[in-house]
Assembly symmetry: C2
Homo-oligomer: 242 residues x 2
């Protein structure tokens, strides 16, 4: 299941990344110059720049014109406090998660739902409530709206596993991109019933809008997180004004 990198810029990306992690360039705080890397990896400058660009997206380095590529320090100590908790991305891959479907229905998007979900009026959707457990602790209440057009013949059994896997593997539809909005809301009765909120009366809500293959919005999901288990990380590389 490992994607073996037969792509040059990815190879270079990984090598540079591990060099940075192991402190190889730490004294100088700079990467070798692009031309030095071209010599070292026997590739074009474009390819080196491509790899550096990826590192920059990850928050590892930052290029400065006329100066060089600067390594951003203290990565480990910043990652550390996150380690124990759970990121968002891993949700669908990690094994220690179990899911319990507590609601399953097929409904039609009316006006008020359309405002909330951004799905088009009269769209048929599967509407689910799912509890996500981590080590048998309820962590997240997922409220899903999947366009029935896309998630054809969805069943509770499938929802218990991965809807995404079903859509991508079985239905052969690709999920392209997603937009996430994070807010904090008062805990609803549903939240209180299913999540172990303890002394908290709020939940962290991640609203996800996902698109398929053809650019159509097909999913709106509210992932309602127990606050003490919620972490969201963004390494923003202070984008230049465009």
């Amino acid at each position: 299941m490992l994607t073996l990198p037969n792509v040059k810029f990815k190879d270079i990306y990984h090598i540079l990344k591990s060099n940075i992690d192991s402190g190889k360039y730490d004294n100088s705080m700079m990467l070798p110059t692009e031309m030095e890397l071209v010599d070292k990896f026997k590739c074009s400058r474009n390819t080196v720049r491509r790899a550096i660009n990826e590192l920059s997206k990850d928050g590892y380095v930052k290029s400065v014109k006329g100066k060089g590529v600067i390594i951003l320090e203290s990565r480990e100590s910043i990652e550390l406090p996150i380690g124990n908790l759970l990121g968002l991305q891993e949700l669908h891959t990690k094994k220690k998660f179990t899911t319990s479907v507590v609601h399953f229905s097929k409904i039609t998007i009316d006006e008020s739902l359309s405002r909330i979900t951004a799905l088009k009026l009269d769209t048929e959707v599967y509407h689910l409530h799912r509890i996500r457990f981590y080590d048998n602790e309820p962590i997240i209440l997922d409220v899903n709206y999947f366009s029935a057009d896309v998630a054809k013949d969805l069943t509770i059994e499938i929802a218990q596993n991965s809807v995404y896997e079903y859509i991508e593997k079985d239905l052969n539809t690709k999920i392209l991109a997603s937009k996430k909005i994070i807010v904090v809301e008062h805990a609803t009765e549903l939240d209180k019933r299913f999540l172990d909120l303890g002394t908290y009366d709020c939940v962290a809500v991640v609203k996800t809008y996902a698109y398929t293959d053809s650019g159509k919005l097909f999913e709106y999901t509210e992932s309602r997180h127990r606050p003490d288990k919620f972490v969201f990380v963004e390494s923003s590389s202070l984008r230049k004004n465009i």
Copy 2:
């Protein structure tokens, strides 16, 4: 103060963006092919690809090999619910914000602070508490730790305006990149005293680690947000595995 785009790929980026917004390509859900855009803009394919790449980072489009560049629909309706609330990025540019400095001191990072801030032991820092008002409403409590090395001779007056502007303009030091972590925490006494929390007993906390010019971590800040005014947006373009 407007950066006039004398850069080709930025021009193309803006043109494509406004075309998408005005629904010019909406029927097909696709951008013109790269080669068509090359003809139209009389530029190289690289330049077109560069512009498309930026659009993709913004969550406007998604390229699919062998197929084309797909436009992601429903942008406005998703942006809409955010509109009223305030994003994070705008903090330093919007005019309606005012700041009140309620604590100002110079301290040295000890072991426990070092764990929290990721700043090196024995670093001298300016420690601030600042209330951010929007329309005279307290929205955010900022708890700052600025390395005194970088933010030399910081004063309360400067802190009342923009520390970043001071560092960049007056001290001529560039702020390169930042890493943000979002969590939800119980409101502290400080939060309750300064923010108008109403019925909420939680705050949304954005922890920011910022780097300078030379790659050194120079700032740790906790921006403690009133939950009802907090929104965080991420348009993640489902990055390919690398």
